[in-house]
C-alpha cells in the first residue's frame, strides 16, 4: 500500500458527504466528468446502434447505402434466418446459460481460493507459484497437443465438460484476484488467526465478504468468457443438441457465407440467406441478454463492507 496514504489518520466513516455544499472543485469535476462520460458513451453507443439498425435493414440496402441510423425499410430477413429453427436456438440459450452459470461459479471459487493463498505474505512459495501460473501465458504448445490431451486422455469429446473446463481458470483472473486480495489489510488475517481460525475459515468468513468488488469483476469476466466462447464448442462438440448459443450462431453465419459463395446452379426455388445483416443480427441476439443483465451485476460495484465496518 502507498506510504503516503498510511500517514493519514484513520477516522470512522460519517454520512455527511452529500450534505456538504458543493465547492467549486467538485462542480468543475462534475462538469468534466459528466461531459466526458457522456461523450464516451455516445461513441460506444452509436456503432452499436448502427449494428442494431443494420440488422433490421434489407441486405441490398446495407450493401448499397452502408450503415444508417434509421433504415428506410424494415426487414426481418436476418432474424428469420437466425430463428429458422427456433427450438434449436432456445436449446442453445439453455446450454449457454447452464455452462455460464456452472463454469462461472466453479471458476470463481477456484480463482478466489488460489488468489487468496497467493496473496498471503506468509505463504512462502507465493511468488514461485505465481510465476508458475503466469508462465502459461507466455508459452503454449499450440492447438494439437492440447486437443489430444482433451480428447484422447481426458475423453472430453462431445462432453459439456469440454465447454466448462478450458475457460475455467486463467492466469489473468488469478493474478487480478490476488491483487484485489492483497489490498485487504494483513492485520485482519492476523487477528483472526490469533482467535484460532483456520485458513479456509478466514477465507470463507472474512476474505470473501471483503472482496465483493473483486469477486464481481472476476465473476463478470468469467461469465463473459463463457458467454462468448464458441471456440471450444467448435473443437469438441459434435452433437447439435449440445451447441452453445455463440457456436450455433457462428455456424449459421459460416453456412450462410458458404452458401453465398457456393450457391451452385440449383438455387431455383431457394433464396440465399443474407450475410451482411445476418452478422449484425447475430451480434444483437448474443449481446441482448447480457446488456439487460449487466445492471444487476453493477450493484456489486459499490463500496460494500469496508475494513472499518468489519472491525467495528
Amino acid at each position: 500500500m502507498g506510504t503516503e496514504v498510511e500517514k493519514l489518520p484513520g477516522v470512522r466513516r460519517k454520512k455527511t458527504g452529500s450534505k456538504i455544499k458543493q465547492d467549486k472543485a467538485t462542480i468543475a469535476f462534475n462538469i468534466i466528468g459528466y461531459t466526458l462520460l457522456a461523450l464516451i458513451s455516445i461513441i460506444c453507443l452509436v456503432p452499436f446502434w448502427l449494428i442494431v439498425a443494420g440488422s433490421f435493414t434489407d441486405e441490398l440496402e446495407i450493401i448499397s447505402e452502408g450503415f444508417k441510423l434509421f433504415p428506410s425499410t424494415i426487414s426481418f430477413e436476418a432474424y428469420r434466418s437466425v430463428f429458422s429453427t427456433p427450438e434449436q436456438i432456445y436449446r442453445a440459450y439453455g446450454v449457454t446459460i447452464g455452462v455460464t452459470v456452472a463454469g462461472s461459479l466453479l471458476g470463481l471459487f477456484l480463482t478466489s481460493m488460489a488468489g487468496y493463498a497467493l496473496s498471503r505474505k506468509d505463504f512462502l512459495y507465493r511468488n514461485s507459484l505465481s510465476f508458475f501460473i503466469y508462465f502459461t501465458t507466455l508459452f503454449s504448445g499450440g492447438l494439437i497437443p492440447w486437443y489430444i490431451m482433451m480428447t484422447k486422455y481426458l475423453g472430453l469429446k462431445d462432453s459439456y465438460w469440454a465447454l466448462i473446463l478450458p475457460p475455467l481458470l486463467s492466469a489473468w483472473n488469478i493474478i487480478l484476484m490476488r491483487s484485489f486480495m492483497k489490498s485487504i489489510p494483513e492485520s485482519i488475517v492476523e487477528s483472526a488467526k490469533i482467535d484460532g481460525a483456520g485458513d479456509f475459515l478466514i477465507y470463507r468468513k472474512l476474505i470473501l465478504p471483503l472482496s465483493t468488488p473483486g469477486l464481481a469483476t472476476i465473476g463478470l469476466f468469467l461469465a463473459l468468457g463463457y458467454w462468448n466462447d464458441w471456440f471450444n464448442a467448435n473443437m469438441f462438440i459434435t452433437t447439435g443438441d449440445k451447441y452453445p448459443l455463440q457456436f450455433l450462431l457462428y455456424k449459421i453465419l459460416s453456412s450462410a457465407a458458404v452458401l453465398q459463395t457456393n450457391n451452385g446452379s440449383y438455387l431455383a426455388a431457394n433464396v440465399v440467406p443474407p450475410t451482411e445483416t445476418l452478422k449484425m443480427a447475430v451480434a444483437v441476439v448474443v449481446t441482448g441478454p447480457v446488456v439487460l443483465l449487466y445492471p444487476f451485476v453493477q450493484r456489486y460495484f459499490v463500496k460494500g463492507l469496508t475494513v472499518g465496518a468489519v472491525k467495528g
Binding site: L60, I63, S64, S84, T85, T137, F139, S140, G141, G142, L143, I144, W146, Y147, I148, T151, K152, K157, W230, F231, N234, M235, T238, G240, F247, Y250, K251, S254, S255, A257, V258, Q260, T261, N262, N263, G264, S265, Y266, L267, A268, A269, N270, V271, V272
Partner: protein
C-alpha cells in the same frame, strides 16, 4: 497465446482458401502428385484369394465429412444403416466438421490420430501434402478385394492422380467437371449501350469504359483483386504453378517456367491496369473491401464479377429469385484461347486415415455408396418423397418433392462431392440452362491438366516460399490493381524484393520438379 494465434491464423487462412476453392480455380495452380520417395509400405495386408470378404463381425464405422449436418441427417443415416446392417453387417456413425474452421479441424482430426474410418479428401484440403506426410492408409492392395466395382470403374489416369510414392491414398470421385472462370456482367447494359459482345480485352475495356462514363457506375465495385488477376491469367494464358509468382508462360509451353512478375508481359499488363484504375474501373479502397463485386451488381452499383459456370448459374438464379430487373450474362475466359482444363480427379475424393482399424469394411461401404443407386440416392439426395421426387426420367429429380414445404423441410444438402459418380448423378429441374450449353461448348475443347499434377511439397524452399509470398501480398497485389502512384518505381521495388526473398531459388526448385515430371510423362 500461441493457440489463439494459430487458431486465428488458420481461421482466416481457411476462409480465404474456402472462398477461392469454392470458386474452384480452373487455372490449375495446385500442387499435384508425382511419386517422390517410398514411405508407406507394409501397413496393409493384402487379403487375396478369399471367396469374398468376411463380414461376420459386426462393425461400427466413423465417417467424417466437411460441412454441416442437415436437419434430417440422423433420419437418413438411420435408414442407410438399416440397409448397411443387412448387407454388410456394418453401421456408420456419420460426423461433420461444420463449416467453421473446417480445415483446422480436418487437420486436427488427422494429426491427433482420432479413430476415423473414412474422411473427405481433396487437393484443396492438402491431399498431396497429407498423403506424403503419411496421414492416409495406402489402399492399393485393398481396393481390388474390398471395392472391386470402384476399382474397375475408376479410370486408370484417375488412380494415377491419387498415387503418391507408389501408394494409392484416396478414392477420387468420378465426375469430371469444368470450372473455368469468367465474368458475370450486366448484359442489359451491354445491349442498351450498343456495345459488342465480349471476345477479347478490348471489348471488355470498352464495356467497362461505357459503364463508367455513361452509366456512372464503377464496373468492378467492391473487392476487385480476383476479378483483375484472373483476367490477367486467362488473357495472357499464364499457367500459374506457385501462387501468383512462378508459372509457365502459356499452355503450349509448359517447360517455359518463369517468374511471372519479371516478364515483359506482366510489365505491360500492370501498366495497363494503372490506366484502368485511373479511369475508375474499380475503387481505390478495393483491397480493403470485403464486399464481393457481385453484391454491387445486385444493387445496381456494379457491372462485373468473376465466377465459374456453376456459381454464375447460382448468381443468375438468385438475381431472378429476388426479382431484380436486370439481365445477367456470363462470359467464360476460356474463349480467349479456346481450350478448357477439367478439374483434377482428386478435386474431390474419399480417404481412410491411418488411425482406422476397419479400412476393409469402410472400403466395402464406399463401394456400395458409389455404385448402388439405393445407397447413392439416399445419402446424396435424401429420402425419396420427402427431400426429392423422381423427375421425367431416371436422370432428373424434382426438389422439393410435391407437397413438401421447403420452409419446413429445407433442401437436403451434404458434402457428397467425395463419392460422386457421373452416371449416378441426377439433374435437378429448374437449374440455369446456360450450364448445359457451356458443357457442350467445353467438351470438344477440353485439354488435359499437364501442370496441375506436378507434385510440389516445397520442403527444400519453404523459407523462400514464405518470404516470396509475403512480398507478393505486400507489393504484388497493389501493383495488379494499379494503386501505386508510380508503376515503374513500384515494379522495380517489387522485383527487387522478390529477388531478395529468394524467388530465384524457388524458381529453380519448381523448374527442376516440373522437368522431372514432364520427362516422366513425355511432355514437351
Amino acid at each position: 497465446m500461441m493457440r489463439k494465434v494459430t487458431k486465428r491464423l488458420t481461421l482466416v487462412l481457411v476462409m480465404s482458401l474456402l472462398i477461392s476453392l469454392l470458386a474452384a480455380c480452373g487455372g490449375g495452380n495446385n500442387n499435384s502428385a508425382a511419386p517422390e520417395k517410398e514411405k508407406n509400405n507394409g501397413n496393409t495386408a493384402p487379403v487375396q484369394g478369399e471367396a469374398g470378404p468376411d463380414t461376420s463381425k459386426k462393425v461400427k464405422l466413423t465417417w467424417y465429412l466437411v460441412g454441416d449436418a442437415h436437419k434430417d441427417q440422423d433420419k437418413i443415416v438411420a435408414e442407410w444403416n438399416k440397409m448397411l446392417e443387412k448387407d454388410l453387417n456394418t453401421t456408420v456413425d456419420l460426423k461433420f466438421t461444420t463449416w467453421n474452421d473446417w480445415l483446422t479441424k480436418y487437420n486436427l482430426l488427422l494429426t491427433s490420430g482420432e479413430k476415423i474410418d473414412m474422411i473427405f479428401a481433396s487437393n484443396w484440403a492438402d491431399f498431396y501434402k497429407l498423403a506424403k506426410q503419411g496421414a492416409f492408409k495406402n489402399l492399393k492392395d485393398l481396393l481390388p478385394t474390398y471395392a472391386p466395382v470402384t476399382w474397375a470403374n475408376v479410370p486408370k489416369q484417375d488412380w494415377d492422380a491419387v498415387t503418391v510414392s507408389d501408394g494409392i491414398f484416396a478414392v477420387p470421385n468420378t465426375n469430371p467437371e469444368y470450372t473455368p472462370l469468367g465474368y458475370v456482367y450486366r448484359e442489359d447494359w451491354r445491349k442498351e449501350l450498343n456495345l459488342p459482345e465480349f471476345t477479347d480485352l478490348n471489348s471488355i475495356e470498352a464495356y467497362m469504359d461505357a459503364v463508367k462514363t455513361q452509366k456512372k457506375v464503377t464496373p468492378i465495385n467492391g473487392a476487385a483483386y480476383e476479378n483483375v488477376n484472373d483476367l490477367f491469367k486467362f488473357w495472357t494464358d499464364t499457367q500459374m504453378i506457385t501462387g501468383e509468382i512462378v508459372g509457365a508462360t502459356s499452355y503450349a509451353t509448359p517447360r517455359d517456367i518463369q517468374i511471372i512478375p519479371f516478364t515483359d508481359q506482366y510489365e505491360a499488363w500492370v501498366k495497363k491496369m494503372k490506366e484502368w484504375e485511373q479511369k475508375g474501373f474499380w475503387n481505390k479502397n478495393s483491397l480493403s473491401s470485403k464486399q464481393e463485386a457481385g453484391d454491387f451488381i445486385k444493387t445496381g452499383q456494379g457491372a462485373i464479377y468473376w465466377r465459374n459456370p456453376s456459381s454464375a448459374g447460382g448468381f443468375i438464379n438468385e438475381v431472378q429469385a429476388k426479382g431484380l430487373k436486370m439481365e445477367i450474362g456470363f462470359f467464360p475466359f476460356t474463349r480467349f484461347h479456346n481450350y478448357v482444363i477439367p478439374t483434377l480427379p482428386i478435386a474431390n475424393g474419399m480417404a481412410i486415415p491411418k488411425s482406422s482399424d476397419n479400412a476393409e469394411r469402410s472400403l466395402m461401404v464406399l463401394d456400395k455408396l458409389r455404385n448402388d443407386p439405393a445407397y447413392y440416392n439416399l445419402m446424396t439426395y435424401g429420402i425419396e418423397g420427402t427431400h426429392w421426387a423422381k423427375g421425367d426420367d431416371d436422370k432428373t429429380i424434382v426438389i422439393p418433392a410435391p407437397g413438401v414445404d421447403l420452409n419446413v423441410t429445407p433442401r437436403y444438402d451434404i458434402a457428397s462431392w467425395g463419392w460422386r459418380v457421373e452416371e449416378n448423378i441426377k439433374k435437378e429441374k429448374g437449374g440455369w440452362e446456360g450450364l448445359d450449353k457451356l458443357k457442350e461448348e467445353f467438351k470438344p475443347i477440353s485439354k488435359p491438366d499437364i501442370l496441375g499434377q506436378i507434385y510440389l511439397d516445397y520442403d527444400p524452399v519453404k523459407t523462400e516460399l514464405a518470404a516470396v509470398n509475403q512480398v507478393f501480398e505486400q507489393y504484388g497485389k497493389p501493383l495488379m490493381l494499379g494503386l501505386t502512384a508510380d508503376v515503374d518505381a513500384s515494379l522495380k521495388v517489387y522485383r527487387d524484393k522478390l529477388k531478395a526473398a529468394g524467388v530465384e531459388k524457388l524458381l529453380a526448385y519448381v523448374q527442376g520438379e516440373a522437368n522431372k515430371y514432364f520427362d516422366e510423362k513425355g511432355i514437351q
